[in-house]
């Protein structure tokens, strides 16, 4: 809502309160003022002048040479390019030395050999948007009415010496969608009285009900319909004061009749509609739901097909307006209109919202109906509009009342207690202060002991419960004046859950290991959603996605991280290492929420270690990522439950991929991205893993328990084995561990040789075995016994022989 500071003063005395100060007060106590615009900001030296002579420029087809009386004793020659300039016009002249918006300074100039001492201005040149300027002045210069005094400041004549407060209205404050509503609000904030218009239009002896008869079928949508008939109107431009008020509020002036309806909409917040009575084709208004498939051509020349969810105004048979949204083209007021049928109606929000949504038509009227208008203003607004039509369009208002009224207006009566107010706000107010606040709001109250009962005016439909009253007290008492306290009562121990604590450990670990945390989108494309999913369940789809790329909830994080790598590599980051923790979404039945499982994923490409001047460049490989997983799992105390097994997975390198197991259950995968996929993403060798963080963080861990530091020495035996090339070190290690018995405490691979010295199809793997007995120093025999078992098992179970 755009509020003119000058216009507001019609209703309330603002002396001593500047627009800026007012804006701050309104923001602090009521409604956020998003900005204050000075309409003449950056402009000066613009005067109303009189065009005495106007002829074609001798040397330029499109220019005019004019002689303009500036009204200050000066008459100057001005070259003007506007096609509509003419002798006798009163115009806005930017004189030499004037400044126009954009710091455009007017200087004396010579145009095609003719001197020009200034510029005749269009409204746009004076800072008024083209779409707000009256149509006849949307192009070319503006003409003042002939009675405009010359020599005066043109910006004052156009009421641009004004400031506009832009109110950011929350949905509850529909009351402030009118100047009167804002006046009430400002009155309450400043503690001042307001004066309201008191329309008392004269009526003629003719009776309106001889002209029109109103019937409402859809009483629920339209409980009150007031019609007035104004005869003998002369349609023409509105006076400047009216046009400029509309333009300052963001509405384009059309003609006096339409402008008056818009003016009342702004003043009362009550939408009105003017029909050309003679075009109605009947003496009847019938308000009903539209028939399915019924068509109306609206004022914007669009044909709209209606349904029974929309409300229409008809002439008994044909629709003449889409109720509360837009009038019909068939009954539009034009320059030849002489009799106006004025509608002031109370429509409820539902049907209006539906129509405005279905037809993509949000008008000043519909937005007010959607939020709710004041039922008590329907009649006064009609009276005020009629009064203005008499004054400004020479009309004649017919007598009598024509309405269809099934509206029951019941102001809300809400009570609260002083105790409750103080308890909720944390204040120490007295009843006197509370009463005073409601008096400022012009709400009626009655007090009984500590209970205050408030009759809420219908203009404030947002107030229905005692908390609403408390809010009024709080905001007008001033939140600045509230004490500052902290909650009392039982203290609660603040903490993270075990899961949350461990999640932080995981993040710290991943970052310590050299990866950056990424946060990516949960919504993805159908193609990506299916990639790298650990659990190939049906994906969860949006009913109405905004785009195909964001239509499905992810089943895995790796595709998102690969995008991140691609983005980075494309921007000359030669290496990138990222991880993410976040939910993947697994569909349950249609009626249930999907399962949201937290995953941990990582993706690394490019160099892992690099120290250029030492000549070291080590690209990432499988074992870098595997080491991270192993380290992380060890950090969580689960290393004894961890396992890896070779796996084949779509999108992954078939020889370099493994499943990650926890306690024998697959919880994730790790490996190199398939070269085809790497190529598609413009990536070099890239390694990823993804695992169920939930499984990892919810796994049972043994409580941390101290074990004694060994007092006896351990003995290490190294063995080099010749095995088949395909033999897995993990399997061999398993054989060793199982055969080694309790004395064998540690088994480590320390060498892998696949070079030419080996027989075809063979490789050598060397293990280091550490034997140790916590009870005594091991003898050679003890070790030999265990070690022989190991070698035997290796040979028998894995065909591994000692390398000669």
């Amino acid at each position: 809502m755009l509020v003119s500071y000058k216009w507001l003063q019609d209703y309330i005395d603002l002396s001593g309160v500047s627009a800026e100060e007012l804006a701050e007060k309104i923001t602090k106590s009521g409604i956020e003022v998003e900005g204050v615009e000075k309409l003449n900001e950056g402009m000066s030296g613009i005067m109303v002048g009189h065009v005495l002579e106007c002829e074609k420029h001798p040397n330029a087809e499109k220019l005019n040479k004019t002689l303009v009386d500036l009204g200050n004793g000066e008459t100057v020659q001005i070259i003007c390019g506007a096609a509509n300039v003419g002798k006798g016009q009163k115009v806005a002249v930017a004189t030499v030395g004037a400044v126009l918006p954009g710091n455009f300074k007017i200087k004396k100039a010579k145009l095609r050999g003719e001197e020009s001492h200034g510029m005749i201005c269009s409204l746009q040149e004076l800072g008024i948007e083209g779409k707000l300027a009256p149509k006849e002045y949307a192009e070319g210069i503006y003409n003042f009415t002939p009675d405009t005094e010359i020599g005066q400041d043109a910006l004052v004549a156009l009421n641009r010496d004004d400031e506009i407060l832009e109110l950011g209205l929350t949905p509850n404050r529909a009351d402030a969608m009118s100047m009167l509503g804002v006046a009430y609000e400002v009155g309450a904030i400043l503690g001042k009285d307001i004066k309201l218009p008191n329309p008392q239009p004269e009526t003629s002896s003719e009776q309106a009900n001889d002209y029109i008869n109103v019937t409402v079928e859809a009483k629920e949508d339209n409980p009150l319909y007031v019609a007035k008939v104004i005869k003998n109107v002369k349609v023409g431009p509105s006076p400047v004061w009216l046009q400029t008020r509309l333009m300052a509020a963001g509405i384009r002036p059309h003609n006096n009749v339409v402008d008056i309806t818009n003016y009342i909409l702004l003043e009362y917040g009550q939408p009105l509609h003017a029909f050309d009575y003679d075009k109605l084709g009947s003496k009847e208004i019938l308000v009903r739901r539209a028939k399915d498939g019924e068509v109306i051509e609206t004022l914007d020349d669009a044909k709209r097909t209606l349904s029974s969810e929309h409300l229409v105004i008809t002439n008994g048979t044909e629709p003449v307006a889409l109720a509360g949204v837009m009038g019909g083209a068939n009954s539009e007021v034009g320059s030849d209109t002489t009799t106006v049928l004025l509608e002031s109606a109370y429509f409820t929000g539902g049907a209006i919202r539906k129509a405005s949504k279905d037809h993509g038509l949000r008008s000043e009227a519909s937005s007010r109906y959607e939020k709710g208008v004041d039922p008590e203003r329907v009649r006064p607004a009609a009276e005020r509009a009629a009064e203005l039509m008499i004054q400004l369009a020479g009309g004649e208002l017919l007598g009598g009342v024509v309405e269809a009224d099934s509206l029951e207006v019941k102001p809300a009566v809400v009570s609260t207690t002083l105790e409750k107010i103080n308890k909720v706000l944390g204040t120490d107010l007295e009843m006197k202060q509370v009463e005073d606040i409601f008096a400022r709001l012009k709400f009626e109250t009655s007090v009984d002991n500590n209970t205050i009962t408030v009759t809420v005016p219908t203009r404030r439909g947002d107030i229905t419960i005692e908390e609403d009253l408390i809010e009024e007290v709080g905001r007008l008492f001033g939140y600045d004046n509230l004490p500052t306290t902290l909650p009392i009562g039982a203290s609660t121990p603040g903490h993270l859950s075990e899961y949350q604590k461990k999640r932080r450990v995981v993040r710290r670990f991943m970052e310590g290991a050299g990866l950056y945390q990424a946060v990516t989108y949960s919504l993805t494309s159908a193609e990506k959603a299916a990639q790298y999913a650990l659990d190939q369940r049906e994906p969860v789809e949006l009913a109405m996605p905004m785009s195909e790329d964001r239509s499905i909830l992810r089943l895995s994080i790796v595709p998102q991280l690969l995008e991140v790598l691609k983005y980075n590599i494309a921007r000359q980051n030669d290496s990138a290492a990222v991880y993410e923790t976040g939910a993947v979404f697994l569909k349950n039945s249609n009626d249930d929420l999907p399962e949201e499982r937290e995953h941990l994923a990582a993706a690394v490409t490019g160099l892992w270690e690099s120290h250029p001047w030492q000549g070291e460049k080590k690209p990432v490989d499988f074992f870098v990522l595997k080491g991270i997983v192993e380290g992380l799992v060890a950090k969580l105390g689960l290393d004894n439950q961890l396992g890896f097994q070779k796996a084949v997975m779509e999108g992954m390198h078939p020889g370099r991929t493994a499943e990650i197991l926890l306690n024998g259950n697959v919880i994730g995968f790790i490996g190199q991205v398939h070269p085809t996929m790497q190529k598609a993403l413009d990536l070099k060798e890239t390694y990823v893993f993804e695992l169920s963080l939930k499984a990892l963080l919810e796994a049972e861990t043994a409580p941390l328990q101290y074990t004694a530091i060994p007092r006896f020495p351990s003995i290490t035996r190294d063995i080099a084995l010749v095995v088949e090339k395909e033999a897995a070190a993990g399997d061999l290690k398993k054989v060793i561990t199982e055969a080694g018995g309790t004395l064998l405490k540690e088994v480590q691979v320390f060498d892998l040789y696949e070079g030419e010295k080996m027989e075809q199809g063979k490789k050598s793997l060397a293990f280091s075995l550490k034997y140790f007995d916590p009870e005594k120093t091991l003898t050679d025999e003890d070790i030999a016994k265990a070690h022989t078992k190991v070698l035997k098992a290796l040979e028998e179970q894995a065909g591994a022989v000692l390398r000669g």
């Binding site: 909650p487 603040g494 290991a513 946060v519 109405m544 009626d591």
Partner: protein, 345 residues
């Protein structure tokens, strides 16, 4: 014989003094003092000497030996010292060359903000609650005083999956769920961070996915002044002790009264600048007293219990705190962007 020994001593000492390295010195030791050395040779001729002469000559021979070996020892120390010096000189490095970088990653800036807020409120007795990102319409809207057809639902156009299930538009459903779990009993003090989704086109200031963090306190006797005090503690810890806060009226369907909190602009100190759009204040969060309908729907007696809630956007806070100018940076994960947040503050 005596002369011969003297001669040998002089000759040996000369050679020792001239020895260039430890090997040469050792050769000298072996050749003069060894079993086959000239001194031993000379002493072989002792048999020809008289009984009186023998001990004298023996003593002289020992003197000569001691003199030579003493000098060798001195020379050896000298040479060893020189060798150490030489090695140290050879081992010299350029200490100004860059060190080997320790591989480190870092938190996403949004995580930094969220964890900072979590920790701040944990210190004030809050626990951290989380909830599903795909929510029931009931928890996302209805339980929060937004019945079907409520005009305020327009404020947050959402991604529906079915008629009853949608991507949550705020983290408030976690509040509804937590209150429900408490079965109408207090106290509740929670902070709820998480991802939320709205039907917005991604641009510099909008993102269809973003983070939210909300707080909720429900108990007997929770007052609006407690909300103000809590937010003041939060603002000063988060943005600096010198920041002022301002509450102004606003509207949310789930709170009544509702407020928005501004903090004084750090850039201009309140006099007005482009960051604060000339107002001297920067909007940080929305808050209010929990609406009685929300309490009742979660099973609380709104006559007995009151509560406050507040909610904010970590993206907005990060943008203000670090001067990030485009919300999309948080989701494109450019490593050059992420790296900037590895500094611990």
């Amino acid at each position: 014989m005596q002369d011969r020994l003297k001669e040998l001593q002089a000759e040996a000492l000369e050679k020792v003094a001239a020895a260039a390295d430890l090997k040469e010195l050792n050769d000298i030791r072996v050749s003069y003092l060894g079993k086959k050395g000239p001194i031993t040779e000379v002493l072989k001729g002792m048999g020809k000497l008289s009984a009186e002469e023998r001990p004298m000559m023996g003593a002289l021979a020992n003197e000569v030996r001691d003199a030579i070996s003493g000098q060798i020892e001195v020379k050896q120390q000298e040479l060893e010292e020189a060798a150490v010096q030489k090695q140290l000189a050879a081992e010299q490095i350029d200490v100004t060359l860059p060190g080997r970088p320790v591989k480190t990653g870092s938190h996403h800036p949004l995580t930094s903000i969220i964890e900072e807020i979590e920790d701040l409120f944990i210190g004030m007795g809050y626990t951290v609650e989380e909830g599903p990102e795909v929510e029931k319409d009931y928890y996302n809207f209805e339980a929060l005083n937004l019945p079907k057809g409520h005009p305020a639902r327009d404020m947050q156009d959402s991604f529906y999956i079915t008629e009853e299930i949608l991507m949550r538009t705020h983290t408030s459903p976690v509040q509804a769920r937590t209150m429900e779990k408490h079965q109408g009993k207090g106290p509740v003090r929670i902070i709820c961070p998480g991802k939320v989704y709205r039907r917005d086109n991604d641009d510099a200031t909008h993102s269809h996915q973003f983070m939210q963090i909300e707080g909720l306190v429900v108990d007997e006797n929770v007052r609006m002044s407690d909300l103000k005090g809590t937010l003041q503690v939060f603002a000063k810890k988060m943005f600096g002790e010198d920041r002022e806060i301002r509450l102004r009226p606003s509207f949310f369907p789930f709170t009544e009264p509702s407020v928005e909190m501004d903090i004084s602009c750090k850039i201009c100190g309140g006099s007005g600048c482009s960051v604060c759009k000339g107002t001297g204040w920067i909007e940080i969060l929305g808050a209010g007293m929990v609406h009685p309908n929300v309490l009742e729907m979660a099973g609380y007696d709104s006559k007995k219990y009151t509560g406050f809630a507040f909610g904010m956007g970590p993206e907005r806070i990060a943008m203000l705190k670090y001067g990030v100018d485009d919300i999309r940076h948080f989701y494109t994960n450019d490593v050059r962007f992420l790296k900037q947040f590895s500094v611990e503050e």
